[in-house]
Point group: C2
Chain length 342, copies 2
């Protein structure tokens, strides 16, 4: 993240924001960045929430006239998800809600905060599209289910409406590795639990990209000399940039993601899916190991107006964030064009 990328971020602050878990954030902060110009009738808004451990600067690459989201036509807003280190997070929240006492944050909480932010800051009541990958997709699903009349379209890559059990095992294994490091100290660490974070990177590496990618050693085309080089310089690096409490908190957000886990739907997933009025384009990665296309297939009968269009890719989960992968980018860009013209 360069300083230059940070210059035009802004912070929305919401006093006394009550979380689903019952704890009040005295000053919930949402750091955001916008791209393009808001139309006078406010009809050109795309919300693009962040994915796991990502900050806006990690995902803004796909915004560009010739890329996936076009800022010359659309007003694109990236709201940083809480717990990502920029918006309200364990690492930046003052006593007494700091570190090991940071409360559980849900996707629901994030979307509620985003809704208030859009209304209060921009007077935006309706979104042309919510676009999201992975945890960004979870936020998109929630937008569709929680505010059915406020969202025209959802484009969701590699995600699900409710975190599946097999996905939870992956997340739980990361938490177990992260917290096995003695430096973790139940979240009250004085120094980052570096070994735990590095173990986490290695677990992630296996799950986030397909076996075929590794068999073909495609990491070499990305500038990594060996598998170990890729594991250390990409995967360990990715998470070692972040605070361990932030990483841990966001794993909890992911683990508990469920569009029906709220008073509106009370656990009735079919009802929550059925409430979505937006046009939905689901684009799972064919070789994604934790957000399986089969999990999306099971959602389809309940969605009123949805298309399932798997990305034919060996990049696994990363097919949905093709920052180094022009073929998958073209495939998703076509999906965006089709959905926005529908």
């Amino acid at each position: 993240m360069t300083d230059a990328a940070m210059t035009d971020t802004r912070t929305y602050e919401c006093p006394n924001f009550v979380l689903q878990c019952g704890i009040t954030l005295p000053a919930a902060k949402l750091v955001y960045k916008t791209y393009g110009t808001l139309a006078e009738d406010k009809s050109n808004v795309i919300l693009y929430p962040t994915s796991y451990s990502a900050q806006h600067s990690d995902i803004e690459w796909l915004i560009g006239a010739d890329r996936i989201l076009d800022p010359s036509r659309y007003f694109i807003i990236i709201p940083n998800m809480m717990t990502n280190g920029l918006s309200t997070s364990p690492s930046n929240t003052p006593y007494p809600l700091n570190q090991g006492r940071f409360p559980a944050i849900t996707i629901y909480d994030n979307v509620m905060l985003q809704r208030r932010f859009l209304t209060e800051v921009f007077g935006i009541e309706r979104l042309a599209m919510v676009y999201g990958w992975s945890m960004g997709g979870q936020q998109a699903y929630h937008w569709g289910a929680l505010f059915p009349d406020a969202v025209d379209r959802l484009l969701i890559t590699c995600s699900s409406a409710r975190t599946s059990e097999h996905n939870k095992i992956f997340l739980d294994s990361i938490r177990a590795a992260l917290t096995a490091d003695p430096a973790w100290r139940d979240g009250w660490f004085q120094e980052q639990p570096v070994k735990g974070i590095r173990a986490m990177g290695r677990i992630y590496a296996g799950w986030a990209i397909s076996q075929t990618f590794y068999r073909q050693q495609l990491y070499k085309s990305l500038g990594y000399a060996t598998l170990e080089d890729f594991l250390v310089r990409f995967w360990e690096w990715t998470y070692a940039r972040r605070d361990a409490n932030d990483l841990y908190a966001q794993l909890g957000t992911w683990f508990n993601s469920d569009i029906s886990a709220n008073e509106l739907y009370r656990g009735d997933l079919a009802k929550a899916l059925g409430a979505i009025k937006a046009k939905v384009l689901l684009m799972p990665g064919e070789t994604d190991l934790y957000f399986r296309p089969e999990d999306n297939e099971l959602e389809m009968p309940h969605l009123k107006n949805a298309e399932l269009r798997p990305i034919p890719s060996i990049w696994g989960h990363r097919a949905g964030n093709p920052s180094q992968n022009p073929e998958d980018e073209r495939f998703i860009a076509q999906g965006v064009r089709d959905l926005l013209s529908a």
Copy 2:
């Protein structure tokens, strides 16, 4: 492991056994158990090596007149792999090769020791079949490549001739989690690194069974009330039974498994595969996440006399050890019958 199951194990001891890594084991121990009766002409021998972290008592369930290996016709020998806690392992080797100084053991080393054992104890020079699952399969591949004239058949479930890179990431993530526990102390622990071992169990849980198994909650049919119940009482239990140095050492054996990593083949995998004279039946699990059928497909052009027959199963890697899964057991049993009658 009941005491009853142990009564008829025997130990073969080989003095001054030189390992591939250059270290000498003053007294290499191979603990074994046999089932059935050796024919006078010694033509009915099936060698059935152990899989990761398993001891003979964990895998002998499939030996029975109506099961996969029939002891009324065959003389079946289970040699416990070194580092499994029974044969020579970090946990049972005296100073100075104990704990953190235990030398690297390869599949090659194990097969060399097994060869000497069979000759010296039973005068067996030829095997009707080597049958192995996972790391047991790695030993079977090695038998075929290292002693082409001594093996008539190989039946290999869920394994590969050389550990793939994507498989290595899985193994490496386990090592990272195991060693993040402060109790590990670089192998010089005073108490088992319980948190690391439990983290390992959770990583394993996600990889060893398919996403579909978990989506269908098949663990409930095995007597586990919830996913967490399955994770704790099956997966954490499985590895918490073992010594952490043994677990760690055997991960290294797996990581480095390669039938061409020796002076015979000097890294030429195609040559090593091509040297196998045995009839080979490869039975990968269709949904296995770390031993992918695709990895076996790539071996097929180099094998002289092999059939690839994937197990149509949602049990992932465990399709190859169907102790609780009659359908996959029938499928493998048919493979054994076909191969033994060929």
